[in-house]
């Protein structure tokens, strides 16, 4: 068992980085590893609930919205922490905008993740 930490700085609509972070975390959980996400900057927009994108392909990037994917990661044991400063900067209301299980943290949480992780993947 390894500990993997993902730092996600890209938003849901401007790069594939959130999706790569999801796919890698998904595969890591399936293989029995421990997975932690730290969402920073526009990465904090990724697990926002209530997003809806019309006319989307079932095979594309938005076969379901990012929050659904992160809900599943949470249910399967991933830890998901969003940087509180970045959350406030973006006018996100963590109480109502994030699904249960998404924690709001601060940079000491990132420091802890970096201390504990065997691998850190910055996306």
């Amino acid at each position: 068992m390894a500990r993997l930490g993902f730092v996600v700085t890209g938003g849901p609509f401007d790069s594939q980085r959130w999706r790569t972070a999801y796919e890698m975390g998904r595969a890591a959980l399936d293989a029995g590893h421990e997975v932690t996400y730290f969402h920073y900057l526009d990465g904090t927009l990724v697990p926002v609930a209530g997003q809806a994108f019309p006319d989307c392909s079932d095979t594309g990037l938005y076969d379901e919205m990012p929050v659904e994917k992160f809900r599943r990661l949470l249910a399967d044991g991933a830890e998901v922490v969003c940087c509180g400063l970045c959350v406030d900067a973006r006018g996100i209301d963590a109480e109502t905008d994030y699904p249960d299980g998404v924690e709001v943290g601060l940079l000491p949480d990132l420091a802890d993740m970096i201390g504990e992780a065997d691998r850190v993947i910055s996306l």
Partner: protein, 117 residues
């Protein structure tokens, strides 16, 4: 007033919404009250989306492209950008016209308005 509008699609397509949503905008602008004349131009890394091998379904392109063509819109690609990326003209999708670099930039200058995505 009816305008001649060119929409540049300039980003690599997969992983971001700019190519499909740029096409959606082009189609929407073509369908508006003024019935603007629309050209959607694949330039820079956008030319990767003009290739027939790209998974257009996964990119949410087919509906927007069909609608744009139905509105009389046109799809073109920058020959200079293709050449720079070693993409042969034969790799470009049938519904896209490859223009030599100078013709593409002449179209940009000739349009009334330009948008980019």
């Amino acid at each position: 007033m009816k305008r001649d509008v060119i929409v540049l699609l300039r980003r690599a397509p997969y992983g971001r919404v700019h190519v499909p949503e740029g096409l959606r905008a082009a189609r929407g602008v073509a369908a508006g009250f003024d019935r603007h004349d629309l050209t959607a131009a694949f330039v820079a890394d956008g030319v990767y989306a003009a290739r027939s091998a790209v998974d257009k379904g996964a990119l949410n392109m087919p509906g927007h492209v069909a609608d744009l063509l139905a509105e009389g819109g046109e799809l073109v690609a920058d020959g200079a950008a293709l050449a720079e990326r070693s993409i042969d003209e034969s790799e470009v999708a049938d519904d896209v016209t490859v223009l030599p670099g100078e013709e593409l930039t002449a179209r940009i200058r000739a349009a009334d308005h330009m948008l980019d995505f």
